[in-house]
Symmetry: C2
Subunit: 442 residues, 2 copies
Amino acid sequence: MKYDTIIHNGIIVTVNRNFDIIIDGVICIKNGKIETVSPGPADRVAYQSENIIDARGGIIMPGLVNTHTHLPMTLLRGIADDLPLFEWLNDYIFPLEAKYMNSGNVRIASLLGCAEMLLSGTTTCCDGYFHEDSVAQAALETGIRGVFGQGVIDFTAPGVPDPADNIKTAGRYAEKWLNVSPLIRPSVFCHSPYTCTEATLIKAKRITRSNNILFQIHTAETKNEYDMIMSKHGVSPVRYLQKTGILDEMTILVHSVWTDEDDIRIISEHGSKISHNPQSNMKLASGIAPVPEFLKNRITVGLGTDGCASNNDPDLFKEMDVAAKIHKVNLLDPTVMDAGTVIQMATIRGAEAIGLGDQTGSIEKGKDADIIIIDTGSPHLIPIYNPVSHIVYSASGSDVRDVLVAGKLVVSDRKLLSFDLNTTLDRINLLAAQIQKDFLTT
Amino acid sequence: MKYDTIIHNGIIVTVNRNFDIIIDGVICIKNGKIETVSPGPADRVAYQSENIIDARGGIIMPGLVNTHTHLPMTLLRGIADDLPLFEWLNDYIFPLEAKYMNSGNVRIASLLGCAEMLLSGTTTCCDGYFHEDSVAQAALETGIRGVFGQGVIDFTAPGVPDPADNIKTAGRYAEKWLNVSPLIRPSVFCHSPYTCTEATLIKAKRITRSNNILFQIHTAETKNEYDMIMSKHGVSPVRYLQKTGILDEMTILVHSVWTDEDDIRIISEHGSKISHNPQSNMKLASGIAPVPEFLKNRITVGLGTDGCASNNDPDLFKEMDVAAKIHKVNLLDPTVMDAGTVIQMATIRGAEAIGLGDQTGSIEKGKDADIIIIDTGSPHLIPIYNPVSHIVYSASGSDVRDVLVAGKLVVSDRKLLSFDLNTTLDRINLLAAQIQKDFLTT
């Protein structure tokens, strides 16, 4: 047969350069790639494939790209909420991580995180954590695409008891994963400018430069961080990173909440990218990043959900909805962050932000077939005047019916095909019961 | 049998005065009312009913209370987004309402709105629109509980071509619905202090006082409204309503975004209630209401989703999530609007805010059995350490499996039992196609 898979009978929101929308569209896929995108009906081509997916009038769009996750944190979902930041970190997150985040648990929790993402329409993620080898291994089993960054921090961390080993560990990890799978890209995730020394930052960036991989770093997340860097280095976090030589096109600055005009100009000039995580920034009371200013300065901005301890789920549809609304109210302007802009951030801009813009993020000839189908038959998606506004303001992750990654169907009719989810859920429940007993009741 | 229905095998979040949570709870229901709430197992009582609902380990909580809706606006969902406020109103909403909001269409669109609410766990709403007779009629068919307010405005409105008839129409409507059903309470909905004259406000309030029913009014929603009232009357919108004699315990002020210390003290002193609609206020760029200040001043605050033209769906779980987060980031304090407070706003406080605090909003002996069951088996709700934080930060309307209103099962296993939804959806789709053809393409 000429094509491996044909998708038809849906509204294609391509998110290509013209943001073309094809009301009754047909997509032909061969060897994991999109060969043609055209108006229907599919009769002309249907005989050329044995594998026809009927979108049943739904919305067909690129798989979503989550530019900031800490997948293993699914294990700690909802364990500590509504607390002051330092109590949350020091009394809960850090001791829990130290006690429970071994490589086995990291793998199980990452399986759950990947399952949630695939089921809610995210086909690509950019993760940063420790024991990242186990995260990447889990991702590989689930069929998701992603960039997976080994954590670097100048403290004791899960899997890296001696911080003197952090760079070596990250280097070994990156080399191991460089050519394992076309779906998995390694990366280095420096925790932040206030938890890594300048020497560590420089060495970590050297690893990513020599391997041409992504450098991730939390930057200017809170006022407290901004003040710390200011008092220690006399400049803002962004300017400090610039001086340290960290900023280039393969660096993604996560959060970038406390940034001023100068910082924004610097980020733009260096071609660095930003991951915007509005729900995490809201829940942890970090602040509102000046995203409309980033966009005016032509910075590539992707959306991220952050980890489950601060969100508490990786549904990018919710994140789009909030991203569209928070800047409107912040600037008292209902026209900023329109639905189309937000969809781009959750797809093509996100892909570009993590170095995968050539492979994914839009439905175009030559791209990998990372595609999702939204079931528009539920009452809350009826009527439909505008699919673009529907995606952002009405749909949620639970409306995603089918998901393909690189042409392979991994979710069909809301069921995960790629691995045995129930076994994973059972293991998570057992682990959680143990944590509840050991940690929360003492 | 002693009981009509018994619900068991779930975590009951009672939202009673002590916010009691019963890990393995049993609820016995008779004649639409809750007779007992106790710890399980259910063996002791199971033989006393033929109708046993197994919550399968899920969360059992009071049905949610949506304190501000415009149900017929479901027909216009997503028809105009991301526009400047006056263009949105004058070029889209007002002409569309004038052309399409006849009583027949209002009824069909309200059926859809009620279906969405029930399916996403809302068992009570407080609505305000024109042709409200048709809204109440639709609600009655669907089995939802609610307060339904006939709109009053000093302009031509759907069903009230001559504004001189607005008070008479509202009065007739209120009298008609006073004793039709225990689930339906009539109300009067004055549009706002800038679209109703003082004389109209006074006459409308007189109708509600003489019938002991709720008076609803949009108040201090936008800066523009605040400035208009200030320049016309020399006082803030809240103080203007106080001077006009509108404020008492049966008045609900919707939005109350542009309110200062004095306004808040006045609202508190008069015992008036507030409906907080964070997503609408964000999307329309109205502003952020000072809700933590309202709560400090012991004002009863309920949550609302507003109409589908400004949200774009009535899922109160999303509204809880955003309500919890927006004030944290606004005040840079992660401890404000904790999950428990937000759940109270979406249940018992909402019920109190619309005059139904004795009937609904909590799971307690003597209350009507308005109860929902959340399926906690989906990956994004696993693991579960804290059901309270789960409800606000992880669950969504699509996780609601079963819904009872006054003891009657109206949603079972995510399917609506009370009326034929498919016929309604077909009629909505036909109507939308006509609107698309007539209005959007000319």
